[in-house]
């Protein structure tokens, strides 16, 4: 794992003044974390996510390991298609999130229903697994590269610290901003995509994760999910904007002038 700033500095998709502005914004976000005793690292192995999930489950937490972030289902994990953000407190993981760069041939709906992106090999598919998609966005996303975000988790111990210090939600908000800013600065893709359950979509989907749209209609083994999507243009305008450093300000709101 590499310190977030050391990994971010390549940023091949940022040029000119934007590069300098975003450089300062990322520094502000990281400095804010470090003032709270937290350090953000980036890597490309799924192992830290598996460890965090195991540790979280054993300490009363709940973290589902989605197929795209489960090494048992993914055999083509590489730095070119995987970014994992782990935030540590005193060397112990406090939270994580990750993203996979996927190529969609045809529509996202077909890719999900035929399990071509969720499992590298159909033999890795659990018995009885099924996926049905009615979300309209899943047909709009087609023949392109997408960044799929997931494995978002804050450990129970860190959540208790946040509550105790009166800054609940700060870590997950910062992690998602750092991760998504990194993605739009480094990966050539057209869409940001994620899946979440309805309560998560309502509380986090737009204002914390920053997705533009939420479409009901992805059923994985009969559990219903919302498909969250943002076009690259929307994601760039959001995660590279000056307001990204203000953690107290929810994402996706109009600017002050517009609200007035």
């Amino acid at each position: 794992m590499t310190h977030f700033l050391n990994a971010f500095q390549q940023a091949p998709l940022l040029g000119g003044e934007l590069r300098k502005d975003v450089g300062r914004r990322m520094l502000d976000l990281v400095a804010n974390l470090e003032r709270s005793g937290l350090t953000a690292h980036l890597g490309s192995s799924l192992a830290p996510i598996v460890e965090i999930q195991a540790a979280s489950e054993s300490s009363g937490g709940h973290m589902r390991l989605f197929h795209l972030f489960n090494p048992r289902h993914q055999r083509n994990v590489s730095p070119a298609n995987t970014i994992i953000l782990v935030v540590e407190r005193d060397g112990i993981p406090a939270g994580c999130c990750g993203a996979r760069l996927l190529t969609i041939d045809g529509t996202l709906r077909e890719a999900l229903e035929e399990a071509t992106i969720l499992f590298n090999d159909r033999r890795l598919m659990p018995a009885g697994w099924s996926c049905r998609v009615t979300a309209e966005a899943a047909t709009r996303v087609r023949d392109c590269e997408i960044a799929w975000t997931g494995a978002i988790h804050v450990t129970p111990a860190e959540a208790r610290i946040e509550r105790h210090e009166g800054r609940s939600g700060m870590l997950v908000e910062t992690m998602l901003r750092l991760l998504h800013a990194h993605l739009v600065a480094h990966w050539r893709m057209q869409w940001l995509v994620g899946l979440c359950r309805e309560p998560v979509m309502r509380f986090y989907g737009h204002t914390v994760y920053g997705y533009a749209s939420a479409d009901r209609g992805v059923w994985l083994a009969d559990r219903g999910y919302y498909l969250m999507t943002s076009s690259l243009a929307y994601a760039r305008s959001l995660y590279l904007s000056p307001s990204i450093t203000d953690i107290s300000r929810p994402l996706g709101l109009p600017n002050e002038a517009l609200r007035a």
Partner: protein, 389 residues
């Protein structure tokens, strides 16, 4: 003489003025299609736009035209370079840097063995860095010591800053990141080197490429100043490089490679035998010859049909003094590898910012060994000329 008649300026101040005007154009029109956008704005040809950026062709009429187009900003930048001193912090930083330099020189006269460090930020302001470059970056960014990242690399990569380290032996290392170097910072560094050229023994560069420092060979100070300013003009790498080593048998599809391989197999392993054979085979125009030595890799021949810019000027120079450090480093590694035996590659890369795809056969002259000549013959598959209008 009509007041509108073109009047070429020849004094040193006029040259400085032209360079500043060119620099401002580059700043104002950063990004792709710069030449075309400048040409449209000033209603001139693309060729003239390129010339103006290089600091040439700034007649009085042209300056008037630019003043009309860009207004006070142009006047301040071109005619009042001291206008930067309105920024009190920048002015103070410059004074501190000068004082630090004088102090360090006095220390050096007393036999001090301490490096002298300076940081040039994106406005072209020179800051003294008595605590080292990393400390200076941290101070200027207002970062607490809690942030554990390599802030020097971050400052150079994200903001286009530049570090200068003066060794006690008067040699200088200049540090910057590939593809993002700020042109004002580079110009300030060039100015700093030129003003001290007589006191410096040589200037090398350490270029941050993909998170790794690549050291270049030291160059004479005036040449190094020009290289650093040119590095700021190199476009960011357009796309990831693709370099594939292919089986030698694949080279047989090209008659010239087949002939060279045959000559390599049949010739006695004597110095210059292969180079002479390449000449006799008529492939010299698309080949290059380098000498791999312990102290560096020196260019000995560049074929005219390879289409490399300033090809003749490269002959006799250390390849690691080229402005495009990523390309130079790749060539050096490939030549050292070829000293151990023939290699055949397909390369989809960029040279001086120009995308190119070619196949290249490299053969050791005089038989394998760590040092000696390497002959490289190339077949260009595709190339894009940038900035030719």
């Amino acid at each position: 003489m009509s007041q509108h008649r073109k009047a070429n300026m020849t004094s040193q101040s006029a040259i400085d003025l032209g360079l500043r005007a060119g620099l401002l154009l580059k700043q104002l029109f950063a990004g792709p299609h710069r030449n075309k956008r400048i040409a449209q704005r000033l209603m001139i040809s693309v060729a003239m736009a390129k010339q103006l950026q290089a600091g040439d062709g700034w007649t009085v009429a042209r300056l008037n035209q630019a003043i009309d187009a860009f207004g006070d900003e142009f006047v301040r930048f071109v005619f009042q370079p001291q206008a930067r001193s309105f920024d009190l912090q920048a002015e103070l930083a410059e004074i501190r840097a000068t004082l630090a330099e004088i102090t360090q020189r006095l220390d050096a006269a007393d036999g001090s063995t301490v490096d002298q460090c300076f940081l040039v930020t994106d406005g072209g302001t020179l800051h003294a860095a008595p605590g080292g470059l990393s400390d200076a970056v941290r101070r200027i960014l207002g970062c607490s010591p809690l942030v554990e990242a390599d802030l020097l690399a971050y400052g150079l990569s994200m903001f286009g800053w530049l570090g200068i380290v003066v060794r006690p032996n008067r040699s200088v290392r200049v540090l910057y990141a590939e593809g993002v170097l700020d042109s004002l910072a580079a110009a300030r560094c060039g100015e700093w080197i030129r003003s001290r050229a007589a006191h410096l023994s040589g200037v090398g560069r350490d270029v941050l490429i993909d998170g790794k420092w690549v050291p270049t060979a030291a160059a004479e100070p005036l040449r190094a100043a020009a290289l650093i300013e040119s590095a700021a003009l190199l476009p960011a790498r357009p796309s990831p490089w693709k370099i594939d080593r292919l089986p030698l048998d694949d080279a047989l599809e090209y008659p010239k490679f087949r002939d060279l391989l045959q000559a390599y197999s049949n010739l006695p392993k004597e110095a210059w035998a292969l180079v002479d054979a390449a000449h006799d085979l008529g492939v010299y125009a698309t080949s290059s010859v380098v000498e791999v030595a312990a102290e560096g890799v020196i260019s000995r021949w560049v074929g005219q049909r390879l289409g490399l810019r300033e090809a003749q000027a490269r002959i006799g120079t250390n390849i690691m003094t080229r402005v495009d450090t990523r390309y130079a480093d790749m060539v050096v590694r490939r030549c050292r590898e070829a000293r151990l035996g023939p290699t055949y590659y397909e390369l989809d890369i960029s040279i001086d910012g120009e995308p190119i795809k070619y196949r290249s056969l490299a053969l050791p002259d005089g038989g394998p060994g760590a040092t000696g000549m390497v002959l490289t013959s190339s077949e260009i598959l595709w190339r894009e000329r940038v900035g030719t209008g």
